[in-house]
Symmetry: C2
Subunit: 391 residues, 2 copies
């Protein structure tokens, strides 16, 4: 079912909304932008994400210069945008606001007759859909969705058109969703370069609780220990704890909204993780007390961790391939990386991944270059021959 | 105090032992290698880490061809190495075996009069030191130590001379340690390019419980949830959960040894993390039940996480600097990275870090190039002018 999107309205110009807008602009789609925060709209517009939205006057209200009002509009973007002479109806509206505001935003947009079809991009799905039903939204023209892409940074300044390239994008149509609404949202996903995954809203929420929301809270809890730790302890921090706690740097306000909207599934996972950690602590106490069998409980948890870690799909969606890793010593000055990757190029080796391991306090580091297993020896030899330190 | 190390004996040729050996060989030190696993010694030798150790016969035992025996030698490397005509006494012995075997190894080595001074490189310090005292080791010639460097991979094949460059290396001398022993171990740390940090053994153990051991178990507990998750859930996994669980891929046997040796401090941290997660789960249940104030507990935890995360020192040991990040779209084919870094080189911009964000399923990705803040605009413009997609 071909569904052409000529004009898309993006409501909420944060990281995700602005990234959607930029992706659509790259594909030649006309994009209208709205946000409660005028500075955010302006920045998004200056980044080339589209033009400012002027909604059509709601039937029965004054035609210009005053905010549209309604029972829920006080908290919605549509309710705060000044009415104007614009009044263009979009083919699709993308609601990119915190989960708790999705339903009221949808209602106000529908009152404005702002678009033919509607979707949202919030990280939780069951509650907003349920609220939209309760508020009396027209669910036939609405398909909730969620692109699995994000960053530690937020706001339009962190947005980029490529954010969704090849990423999963969950679609959660309900029994009431029309085929046309579904086709419009599928077209959006396609234009953003993402992979559509149709999934029931409740299953979606349980899934992201496991792979995103609960891991975030766990990272926060580990990082919270660092807040109270001694300087000596921080001085002994290595790469492991950096990785574990990286996402703990995310915006607490944003995350409270996400966690609140998916409270029960996240609580289920957190309780399981909490229990595992309490049992590990008990086993360690028993070990310290001389009960050698308690080690089995620890080993069991560590092994389950290895198994779970191994199930995460690798690059390009497939199972994680066992790349060959070539380590090269590099100086921390301009030109070294260029020369390194030039050698890769010369010998026809494709770099699958690269990771810089820094040597704190020294102008030296090690680049770990991941390549196809059979290419590792080729690259190693080539680098060695050219005088690189390949340990 | 200058302490020259002409000959160093490395006992245990795993990742850390072999890396120490390789670092010493690069500095011209003669290295003798021993391990219970003959294949590991052979591999280390072939990697250029040194030559095989033949201990001197212990006074009162037969002079060749039979294992040296003693109350603890059955489980030690020194106890398993065949006596031979070699008999060279090293300036320093580096014991690189699991924490539980450090003390018995030290005892056997001292019985062989294998070295003038001794250290170990195990991840826990208080228990091995205490055990060494109980076994009657000569503690005046021993300074326990711990290089804060490691990898997910283990074994001599993963070793590299640069592993310790600029990394912290904890030294835990006791009241009995002689100045000469301390000087010998300081010289080892210097030869390996690491930064010595003197710290009390108990404080060391509490510190690494917070910044290394407990985070490992937490990562395992999060990853364990993935073992039971649906394929749909795994299909929605993003970069966040990949980072949180990366270290959970480590060898369970190795980690059981580390955790067992630091049981009480790790249990303390795990109990605190477990409690935070249980409280977060409770708060989420309360939120779901309509108690809006419960959100404060979640926010508090998330904010403590942000604060803790912010305390982790950045590259080169200093506080994490706010680098400018330039995002560039790159094709997944040879030559792209070389060209990218060539541009950096041309415009004189030093690359502080690089991270490839993959687009699963598509031959495209985004390179995030970290540079000094003032260089970001320069690089962005230069790339843009040369036709790169800089979102």
């Amino acid at each position: 079912m071909a569904s052409e999107l000529r004009t898309v309205l993006v409501v909420g110009t944060g990281l995700i909304g602005t990234s959607v807008a930029l992706a659509l602009r790259q594909r030649g789609v006309r994009v209208l932008l709205a946000d409660r925060d005028q500075a955010a709209v302006r920045l998004a517009r200056e980044l080339g994400a589209g033009e400012e939205w002027r909604p059509a006057p709601k039937p029965g209200t004054r035609t210009s210069g005053s905010p549209v009002t309604g029972p829920t509009s006080g908290s919605s973007v549509a309710g705060q945008v000044s009415g104007g002479p614009y009044g263009e109806k979009a083919d699709l509206a993308v609601i990119a606001v915190p989960p708790a505001h999705v339903a009221s935003e949808l209602l106000d947009l529908q009152r404005h007759d702002a678009a033919a079809y509607y979707t949202d991009v919030a990280s939780v799905k069951a509650e907003p859909i349920q609220q939209a039903g309760q508020l009396g939204c027209d669910l036939s023209v609405y398909v909730a969705s969620h692109p699995l892409a994000g960053r530690e940074r937020s706001g339009p300044g962190a947005a980029r058109a490529e954010l969704f390239l090849g990423r999963p994008w969950a679609l959660c149509p309900t029994a009431e969703s029309s085929p046309e609404a579904r086709a419009a949202v599928l077209r959006l996903v396609e234009l953003c370069g993402a992979n559509p995954v149709e999934v029931d809203a409740a299953e979606h929420d349980r899934a992201v609780a496991v792979v995103s929301h609960a891991p975030h809270v766990a990272a926060s809890a580990v990082a919270a220990r660092l807040a109270d730790a001694t300087d000596v302890a921080l001085g002994l921090a290595g790469q492991g704890v950096r990785d574990v706690t990286r996402i703990a740097g995310g915006d607490p306000g944003l995350w409270l909204g996400i966690l609140s909207g998916n409270a029960a599934p996240v609580a289920d996972v957190l309780e399981a993780v909490s229990r595992d950690l309490a049992e590990a602590a008990n086993a360690l106490r028993a070990l310290a007390g001389g009960d050698g069998t308690a080690g089995n409980d620890i080993t069991h948890l560590l092994k389950r961790g290895v198994a779970g870690h191994g199930r995460i799909p690798g690059k390009h969606g497939g199972p994680a391939p066992a790349y060959g890793v070539v380590q090269v010593v590099i100086g921390d000055r301009p030109g070294q990386l260029a020369k390194l990757f030039q050698v890769c190029d010369e010998v026809g080796v494709n770099v699958e991944d690269v990771r810089l391991e820094h040597a704190p306090g020294l102008p030296l580091g090690v680049a770990e270059v991941s390549v196809r297993p059979e290419a590792a020896a080729v690259l190693s030899r080539a680098l060695h021959e050219r005088g690189w330190q390949v340990p």
